[in-house]
Symmetry: C2
Subunit: 112 residues, 2 copies
DNA sequence: CTCATATACAACCATTTGGTTGTAGGTTAC
DNA sequence: GTAACCTACAACCAAATGGTTGTATATGAG
């Protein structure tokens, strides 16, 4: 199974995009169902343009995509990008796991 | 099993901290083995103070911890915080999975 | 004791971020 | 056709970020 890893630049954008509660909420809502930008904007205590910028940041990170439907822009969460971020974190955890594994080996060696 | 979830503020800090290639590299290195701040600083093309700031950002996020050892400060990666971030991403993916599951139900219903 | 090393931290600066308002262009409803 | 709606985007601003240099302090080596 080929997994397209995040480039450093993409990883920066993805984590940066996730580092904001409003944007995480947008991701949640757009994963749950398709939502227009104006529907999103109605939910937050900020201007339409501000929400637009959040959506743009998420789109640049690949965490959501937008498609035109009439005069609306429908926003969809992109689970694949979430998964890529998960994989990056898993690779970090794996580094630690391997270190513990080496430590176990060392201790086992000490028993001999 | 009780899992201490990240607060919104903590989540912001964790993802913000991960949104930088140098900081991700510091996390990798300190998960692999304990490293002093000056050892870290030697690896990157920036001032000692700059690396210090990166470590401080990671420490504030709970992604590393520092302990004094003589005149050095030893930096350790904190796998638990990585795991919390993974769980947050998993909860996002789960939202999507449930949506797909509802869609499947709907399609199955259509067959009746 | 003295010197070199390791760190902490303040002050400063350029750039980025996250918000605002204002203007303009499509699309839908009536 | 016209008014209302949805979006795009530019210009602007304050605050945060990510770097710098400089100074001070604590520890270890010889």
């Amino acid at each position: 199974m080929v997994v397209y890893e995040l480039s450093e630049e993409q990883a920066n954008k993805v984590f940066r995009a996730l580092a904001d509660a409003t944007r995480r909420d947008i991701v949640r809502r757009t994963l749950r169902a398709e939502v227009s930008v104006s529907e999103l904007a109605a939910s937050y205590d900020m201007s339409f343009a501000a929400v637009q910028k959040h959506v743009a940041a998420l789109e640049a990170a690949g965490l959501v995509s937008k498609i035109a439907r009439g005069r609306e822009r429908i926003v969809r969460g992109q689970p694949d990008t979430i998964r890529h971020a998960q994989e990056l974190l898993s690779s970090l955890e794996e580094i630690w796991r391997q270190r513990i594994s080496r430590l176990d080996d060392f201790l086992a060696d000490g028993d001999k």
